[in-house]
Symmetry: C2
Subunit: 799 residues, 2 copies
């Protein structure tokens, strides 16, 4: 048992008064940010010119967030805890900014906005003002790891932050609006994956202020016994707090916090010291306070406090309506600012009595600036995993299985540090990464049966059938200073399109903030991809995630399509060492020809795109045509087409280009990896036909390369939504990405062929017809495809 | 009370035997589809050549689905019910196909695959075979409204199907894997929105077979009391069934079904006949049966039945391993096929004893082929809503508010039919569509307080803070023959990227199936768009959904960007009448200049793109430059730029083009709306500079138009991720979409200007500098922008 006193009586009158002073100060500062351009301390009567011309921001959630922050301050200070808080209602920016200003962390990061009258004036003015700070809890906000504008991800972020931080308590305020979202609803079950020994604790605080923008919320209107059943069904022990009498709520909230933290300490002690292995029933605090509490009770004859009308700006006509202006002044003065701040605008000692010191302050926690905690990931030499390549295409390996060896050793080499996790929606084995399970297990806190394999309470492979949880957990994990990889079926990563948007926005912004230290990149391994959905078909075929991320801030986005096992290793090594990116790696899990030895793979991946001389027939001269590929299946089809061209059009000078780093195709000015025009021209020629076989939607290549000199000659093949359950080769034929079609494209586009083109074209059409008949008769790919392999030859074959 | 007998004793021995026969037949047919190429009735010993060369499909979930189907048959027949079933584990295609074959509906739709030996042989062979049918419950499957490959949406679809179908019971099988997803977790609360009077019932059947692909499931490993609390917390009454003794499970399942349906009847009777308004506690069936039940218990020394190893193909080496072949034959013969099918392969009468008749069969329900039930939506003449336009830009309206009037009348005119719903994540008022609330209310089954507005148990506006639920409900509603509109903040519609993928795939496929009747389109109204996020900033700014959908099957996707109120009306009228599309309409909610009167708007929207002669200065001649716009804010900036050009470069012949239907830019061969090259050239010229101001990511326009003759001269401005909380005009300046930048683009790109270009360029740069200083000083847009309005003039202004 922890040696804590019994807190059930709660704080005394003096402490309650001080807590209330802090809360009033935070409320005053929150309202001030929304309304005031000047006169921050109300040293003179409020006049219209003191009011911002555009009133923007969200008051409704702010008093509740301030209450939580005040009481987190109290327990951090009393118990000397490391706490970070994830503010789910991130639109309540004024509240978190107010608290960060009060605890001094804001002024440490932004010295212009210190704890005095001038700083307070700047705090108010800058809020939601052009050139100022966003209206939400944003990357710019000290102590924050969560923007919250989109709603849904707070609790998953909180768990991600808690994993492998055994000394940390992650509080998480969940708004009752956010609680209606799918990702949040799924996140409650994260407690089935939290190891009480090696992980920290998550303290969810479900804040029921009752309303969204325009409606009551589902959870706030449940009868309390039904809500209680729900939370118990989620595996929690609910602690209820509520009311609208500030001092009573302060008292009850302090008791609730103490009860929750005592219980957390007890459960951790039991698991860590007493060997208890039963899944803990962690506490959850249910906090019911009015929306817009302490704001105007009613405005223009309709109720505001305690209703949805308090969501944004309760008094909207302040500059023009003297009545509203008077109401605002009354409201602001109701906090008794002169009691809270001295004549210089400095918070009085009573206000700051609950505020902890140094890095224990929520605004100054190193956990919320994860780069401060980040260590280099131990990565062994790739030689330990590389597949030997005597000749291109002579052997085949499953690229992701090869990568599995590397990931296994990362797991082994971080076994003590515990700062690497692999997440995926029940797909680690399906994606052939199961070598990692030789080193660690899959995290699991529920019962384990005799037939189960690789399940353990302390495992660091995270499998849950929710891409949202995988993404949210990993984001929280990375943002608090660790490393990881998310392996997903390619099609279903679209489930987190919107989450990755928000993470890219976060990274883009933090890159401009010198005090935010770089964090490990968010690495996706997209496999079980569009071309190999033999079991599942159309619903599992979608290569559009690359298009999605390439629309976003180029400084934070990288996309790689390694064509074989060794290039996948080289890419993986690179992305695992990188910082502040979203890296998307698309790679196959099926047996794939090994094209490049490790050294060649390293060079090729470092360049991002290059000529494969050994596969072409230009012999150093100028090519008649360029065959380009990005992706494993396109690479295979391009090489098969090159082989067919050697046979059928032996005098044609063919160049084979392979692209790994897809952003290299972009103009230099549009992406940091974009290649200069002269390099693009040297690779693709300015004037020869380029037949480009691309893994995904073909028009993406046009969108990247439309400014290039040779763009007119660029002809792209790729996935065009012709999907179903069929054989691998039938998939490429259906989408016109097959070797025969590529040869036909060459024949159609190279002017003045020395050999008559028609017979070659006919031969290709015949091969496609043979395929069609064979696959429908046999259900397999025809032998000439199934048994195809690259024939290495430096000279053109005889026709 | 319904006049049903008491079923608590369950069925007698004969009925149990018949139910078991039906179940065995379905299991036999399921396994047969996965394995057999020939010898469907096992009339001879199984040989390798009878086995498919590629073994694909999912056995694990199939026996459970077959059990549910058998028992749904029983209650449909016994109670003469209209039931559709949403099969969440849609990868269990073999099961639903087997049942549809057994109830005869399959053979009615596909006469080659009738209920005889030849039909059975085809049923087996075609499954997951090239040219055959997909391995999942797909659009091709009679009785299905749900593909299920992605997992997560079954329960939301079920509720959507039940809304406004008071006579329907929608059963919904939820796999315990799917139950881990976010959308499914949120869907449980859909019961807070189901009206027991006007809506049908949803019967969730949570199928705990314990495992996903490679792991146990979270819910299956919960202690039963904890699971019970969870389901009660969701507002349900759980009914538990489980075991592995078939006859006992048949008995218990029959009792559970009767209990559930009795309760549903009771609750509906209470609400409909007795005026009970309390929110019902609807039943949920929890079904625990082994994964891969009745399949091989173990294979090669490891347990298979009842573990994750049964997920796909339990015996994988059947063609090559005589032991596996023998085990397969034993397995198939364990169902005693000779007792189930006669010598001609026809199911024996006992097998069909539970099968209902005609349209009551799950495979033949018209509810699952919603186009059969669809009625034209009553739409009044647009003249009733159109805003008068005396001159372009003379007045301003909020386009979505104008649309609200139309939607209000649709609600009014469908008040009795109840076949139109408006869904949105708590944003109907925020998106300024609140006129609909004059006609109907927001659906709400929880308590209503005195301060609430527009909440009602019978309302048809659906607001919940979950885009997943909005989308899932609407899909289910449309798929069962009704109409609707989804209004969303533009940025957050990305949350359903993956769902819309699946719906587009569904529509694309149904378009090839003549027996599937067209359904109403899924209509998105995307508003609160990227350019007007004054309150929220960067997290709320993302125009990429258009890019996402335009990657998908062009036959099923349409995108419209109406630039003002009347064009929005014309577009809305069109999309609400359309069938089998996903229509994306992007429109603003802020006051916007009225450019076109209704007649002009109709013509302009029908063309999809056109020259606005009144805004240009070419006077019928050939333009020096084309200013094009798509979207409301770009249109405003282009017209402002045109005005500046009239002033500064009066002799420049400027053409103004406006694009509403963005797919018109695509080549004719790539999209049904793509315009022929001669039309494109006539509009944009083949050789003049085109400055295109686009609402979203600028490269989308290049991706659509890269094949056009004049593409080299196309210069696009749009959103480039420069977002924050700021003024509307500052947003366009930050992204270089502003009028001054557009004029600079013209100056930079039109060769040989008669007037020296440098001073004009400087004037524009000065204006941008003025803006910069003003907005940072005042926090508002400068008067020359804020007060700008189009000056109609047919002649160039004096310089």
């Amino acid at each position: 048992m922890p040696d804590r006193p019994d807190h059930s009586d709660g704080p005394g009158a003096d402490e309650l008064a001080a807590l209330d002073a802090h809360w009033r100060a935070a409320n005053y500062l929150s309202a001030g940010q929304i309304y005031l351009l000047d006169n921050p301390l109300l040293t003179e009567p409020l006049r219209p010119e003191h009011i911002k011309p555009r009133l923007l921001g969200h008051w409704g959630t702010s008093p509740g967030l301030n209450l939580v922050h005040t009481h987190l301050n109290r327990v951090v200070r009393a118990r000397d805890l490391d706490v970070v808080c994830v503010w789910g209602p991130g639109h309540g920016g004024p509240a978190v900014l107010a608290n960060s200003w009060l605890d001094g962390s804001y002024g440490e990061v932004y010295p212009d906005v210190g704890r005095d009258a001038a700083g307070m004036a700047r705090l108010f003015r800058q809020f939601s003002f052009p050139g100022g700070v966003p209206s939400h809890v944003a990357p710019e906000t000290p102590g924050s790891i969560h923007e919250g504008g989109e709603l849904g991800y707070s609790l998953a972020h909180a768990y991600g932050a808690a994993f492998d931080h055994p000394g940390l308590v992650v509080a998480c305020v969940i708004g009752d609006g956010e609680a209606e979202t799918g990702p949040l609803a799924a996140s409650w079950h994260s407690n089935k994956f939290l190891d009480p020994v090696h992980d920290g604790a998550v303290l969810p605080i479900l804040h029921l202020n009752g309303y969204k923008i325009a409606n009551p919320t589902v959870l706030a209107r449940l009868p309390e016994p039904e809500l209680d059943e729900l939370l118990r069904g989620y595996g929690h022990l609910p602690i209820h707090v509520g009311g609208d009498d500030p001092l009573q709520v302060h008292h009850d909230m302090a008791v609730a916090m103490d009860t929750a933290l005592d219980r957390i300490a007890l459960l951790q002690h039991a698991a860590r010291r007493e060997g208890v292995t039963e899944r803990p029933r962690w506490p959850v605090i249910v906090l019911r306070t009015p929306k817009g509490w302490t704001g105007p009770k009613d405005v223009d004859g309709v109720p505001v406090e305690g209703t949805w009308r308090a969501h944004q700006v309760p008094l909207s006509g302040v500059r023009d309506d003297p009545g509203h202006l008077r109401r605002l002044e009354e409201w602001l003065r109701s906090y008794r600012p002169a009691e809270l701040f001295d004549d210089h605008g400095r918070p009085r000692p009573e206000v700051l009595a609950c505020v902890p010191a140094g890095p224990r302050r929520l605004g100054a926690s190193p956990y919320a600036n994860g780069g401060l905690l980040l260590r280099e990931l131990p990565l062994r030499p790739l030689e330990e995993y590389a597949v030997p390549v005597k000749a291109p295409g002579a052997t085949r390996h499953e690229p992701t299985r090869v990568l599995g060896g590397l990931l296994r050793d990362v797991m082994t080499d971080t076994a003590d540090r515990r700062d690497f996790r692999l997440v995926g929606p029940d797909e680690t084995a399906s994606n052939r990464l199961e070598a990692v399970l030789e080193s660690t297990a899959k995290a699991w806190q529920e019962d384990v049966l005799a037939t189960d394999e690789h399940l353990d309470r302390h495992g660091r492979v995270m499998e849950v059938l929710s891409e949202h949880l995988c993404q949210g957990w990993l984001e929280g994990y990375l943002l608090t200073g660790r490393h990881g990889l998310f392996s997903s079926y390619e099609a279903f990563v679209h489930i987190v399109d919107s989450m990755v948007n928000q993470h890219i926005k976060w990274l883009r912004t933090t890159r401009t903030l010198s005090w935010r230290r770089p964090i490990a990149s968010l690495n996706y391994l997209l496999t079980s991809h569009v071309w190999r959905q033999d079991h599942n078909g159309f619903s599992h075929q979608d290569p559009g995630f690359v298009d999605h991320v390439l629309n976003k801030s180029p400084e934070a986005v990288r996309v790689y399509l390694p064509p074989d096992a060794n290039t996948l290793l080289a890419v993986a090594d690179h992305v695992l060492r990188s910082r502040d990116y979203v890296n998307v790696v698309v790679a196959g899990k099926q047996p794939c020809f090994d094209w490049l030895g490790l050294d060649d793979a390293r060079v090729h991946c470092a360049r991002g795109a290059g000529i494969w001389e050994w596969a072409g027939t230009e012999n150093g001269g100028s090519p008649d045509v360029v065959l380009a590929a990005a992706g494993d299946i396109p690479t295979q089809e391009v090489l098969a087409a090159a082989g067919l061209l050697r046979r059928h059009l032996p005098h044609l000078a063919v160049r084979v280009v392979n692209v790994v780093d897809i952003a290299r195709l972009m103009p230099q000015e549009e992406h940091p990896h974009g290649m200069p025009d002269h390099e693009y021209d040297a690779l693709f020629t300015p004037d020869r036909p380029v037949i480009f076989a691309y893994h995904g939607y073909p028009w993406l290549i046009h969108r990247l390369a439309y400014r290039r000199t040779g763009h007119r000659n660029l002809h792209v093949r790729g996935y065009k939504e012709s999907g179903t359950t069929t054989t691998p080769f039938d998939m490429v034929v259906r989408n016109d990405l097959d070797r025969y079609r590529l040869v036909m494209d060459v024949v159609d586009r190279v002017p003045g062929l020395a050999v008559p083109a028609a017979p070659v074209r006919q031969a290709m059409a015949d091969a496609r017809a043979r395929h069609h008949a064979w696959v429908r008769a046999h259900g397999t790919d025809m032998p000439e495809v199934a048994e195809w392999a690259w024939e290495p030859s430096s000279r053109p074959l005889e026709p």
